[in-house]
Amino acid sequence: MSSPFATLDYGSAPVNAEAARSFLAQAAPQPAVAAAQKAASAAATAWRKTAPALRAQRLRALARHMEQKAGFLAALAALDGKVPVASTLAQVVPRAVAALDHFADQAPLLAGAPGLAAVLGEGAGLAALVEAVAPALAAGQGVVIASAAPMARAFAALAAAAGLPGGLVQTVKNDPSTEQALLALAAITHVSFTGPRAKSLALRGQLAATGKTASFTLSGPTVLIVHDDADLDAAVEAAAHLLWPGEGHGVRLHVQEGVAPRFSGKLVNRLSRLRLGDPLDANTDLAADVKPVLPDITSFRTPDEAVQLANHPGDAVAASVWSENLSFALDTAARLRCATVWLNGVNHHAPAAPAVQHFPRPGKNPATAEMLAAAVKAQTAWAALAPAARAEKLAHLAASLPARAAGLAHRLMAAGDATGVSRRVQPGLVFFTLPDPQGVLAVTPASPGLEGLVTAVLPALAAGNAVLLHSPEGAARRALEVAAAHLPPALISFASAEKILADERLAGSFAGTPPARHKTVWAAFGT
């Protein structure tokens, strides 16, 4: 007997796309780099002189304006990129708004920065774009966005409409010659890049000699790790979210072998329940002509193997870890090599959670390839030590230094332990940061004396890094060399030659004290 009841249907619930359509139909002449720079610089001069509290007010006004225009932005993303409107409304716009509000709060605390920021990296989406632009605007800079995407143009238009000085946010083309022309401009003092690791490395090498500051948000796949004691339905839901198109860059699925068949069955069932349709419809999960690619599930046997699989290749930028066992979950989080780990959750973001790698003042890379290879080996063993064991060895180093430098070394080590943030974002959701060794760092001390050297080296070593120190021969360097005799060989390498080395094994080059890097761990909880 067949059912006498009709199927319940949601009906059509499209957002109003008229404004987005006419915006896309408008001709969009991209100004030349020189013209864009001139206009942005003129606007930035006034913007930098604006009182920080007033800049904050304007940024908040822009945030409110974006909220009001959320429907327009969602329609634009749907028409231009086939992103379902529900995703823009529920995730992207709130994330962009949170970034503007956060950096508005920060504006009075930031030292004003001169010049312009260049925002590079195509295809990063509205949220990543605003996260890159907001800190520059808060610091009083103008912005040149190298992007041909309508979303970038729409953002520039919203900024002007919300009362930021006209021309402060510029967009130019995103081809390689435009990019090079931008990087060559003296007016560009900061470069913010979102993109793959390989390109960020090349850019880092290029920027090293210019004195421009830089920040990198790496893009890459997200790893989903499902332990055998996970809530499988919840993990499947997370996988479905990662497979939906949006701002992600692919997903790798690692599932414990004993539960892999059930996970796979549930995932196939879940994907079959996705609603395909018009991306402008509020009930569409996926544009009808966009097929989610179901990646292979790689199974693992033990938690150790899960971590090894996730860390190879090391291109993952985030991980979503599923286990109801606190010990498994935290241990996995601590050992994953990626900037963000979500425990029993996925796609949480907060502007206060560090996901960006900052290079305040790029330094020189004074090393040979042989020195670098030795340093990499030394660093791997050093980072595997417990922080307390590292501190004990560094205390020996400090004890061998003259009194003033020794006192400084102890203070730096203590301060290194105290960094990090934790926040309750909402009931049942917190994040905290774990110090994360970066690898081998090239460091150019801010001052040539022993205290300058200690300031440059100690925090980096305490955090588990190895250091290539660019320091000319002299008494200070000799004193540090003697004191460091207790340390594993090659943990500090001294070099006087200046060689620019864009080598993947080099985690970064810095002038002064390298900033600590943290991994953000999100934990969702409830009964």
């Binding site: 059912s3 319940l8 949601y10 009906g11 409304l89 004691d229 809530d231 509020a282 409830g526």
Partner: protein, 323 residues
């Protein structure tokens, strides 16, 4: 009037042997359940579709009175409302003149079953009776089973039993299975809805495990609440039970229905639960064979909303017959 009978294409759940490994290691992450519920709350039902959905909610409703002051007259009035839940002009506006909608069942205490059976005679609407020492379920097992047999003998076609919460709170799963299986046997041909009283169980993991045991013991429907606990039906609890229904189906090949009860008061609540059923389990679970809503005040809210949608009237309680 059309007579609703149980769809024979969906066989009754016969139950299975007790399998501890079907549920002992299953986990429920409450935060993730909350995220999924939040995702589902973003579904939008177009205005022109809404009357169909609200009518379906009525057709899935177990119209209920479970109060100490219930009388024959009160039950008769409820039964009259069950047979004609909507004003005639609304039935016409819905295009349902030839098969006017009625509720799925009337749910009463055992002593009221004879009155309800008489009042509903010929309507095709079954009488559901709570039993087994409702709501706490703490009378002796022999008394609880006798109560089921009494209600069935008086003509109840559906029995809403309550589980013994202590068995869940002390993880005494075999005892829970044995009791529910005995209740199912006492029900005979009557369909059994097992009330988990999720507000007493507190954790979603307990809810999932209790649901699996009740289904293995032969429940035709699993039901959230008596309506008398501190917390009644919630969307996270419901989602957890629907996932258990899916797991049980995958393991046993058998189909079980779902009934949220208590706490569904507004037309918007009814739409939220129907959306949950549609998204998580599909079409068959948006129909009265596999989906029931236990409610007493919900109908009034749905009538007012339908009145507004179909005639443009302001939501006014006195425009409709009292249940």
């Amino acid at each position: 009037m059309t007579v609703h009978t149980h769809d024979e294409s969906i066989p009754r759940n016969t139950g299975t042997a007790f399998h501890q490994n079907w549920f002992a290691r299953a986990q429920v992450n409450a935060a993730a359940v909350g995220s999924r519920v939040a995702d589902l709350s973003r579904r939008r039902i177009a205005r022109e579709q809404e009357p169909l959905w609200l009518t379906r909610a009525i057709e899935c409703m177990d119209l209920t009175t479970l109060a100490g002051d219930d009388t024959r007259g009160r039950v008769e009035r409820l039964c009259a409302k069950a047979m004609s839940p909507l004003r005639p002009d609304l039935v016409l506006a819905l295009g349902r003149r030839d098969n006017p909608p009625h509720v799925a069942a009337v749910c009463v205490y055992p002593a009221m079953v004879p009155h309800a059976v008489k009042a509903l005679a010929g309507s095709g609407i079954p009488v559901a009776s709570v039993a087994t020492g409702f709501p706490a379920g703490l009378t002796p097992l022999s008394a609880r089973l006798a109560e089921i047999r009494y209600a069935v003998a008086e003509g109840a076609a559906e029995i809403d039993i309550v589980i013994f919460r202590e068995h869940v709170l002390t993880q005494n799963w075999q005892a829970l299975y044995d009791e529910v299986a005995a209740m199912r046997e006492a029900c005979g041909a009557a369909h059994m809805k097992a009330i988990l009283a999720t507000g007493d169980l507190r954790t979603l993991r307990n809810v999932h495990r209790a649901a699996m045991v009740a289904m293995m013991a032969g429940a035709d429907v699993i039901k959230t609440s008596t309506g008398k606990e501190e917390v009644n039906a919630t969307l996270p609890v419901s989602l957890t039970m629907l996932r258990a229904i899916r797991d049980y189906q995958a393991l046993s090949g058998q189909t079980v229905g779902f009934k949220p009860a208590g706490g569904l008061r507004t037309a918007a609540d009814a739409l939220a639960w129907l959306t949950l059923m549609k998204e998580e389990l599909g079409k068959a679970w948006t129909e009265p064979d596999l989906f029931r809503i236990g409610a007493s005040s919900l109908l009034a809210s749905i009538e007012q909303r339908l009145d507004h949608l179909l005639t443009g009237a302001a939501p006014t309680p006195h425009r409709h017959t009292l249940a």
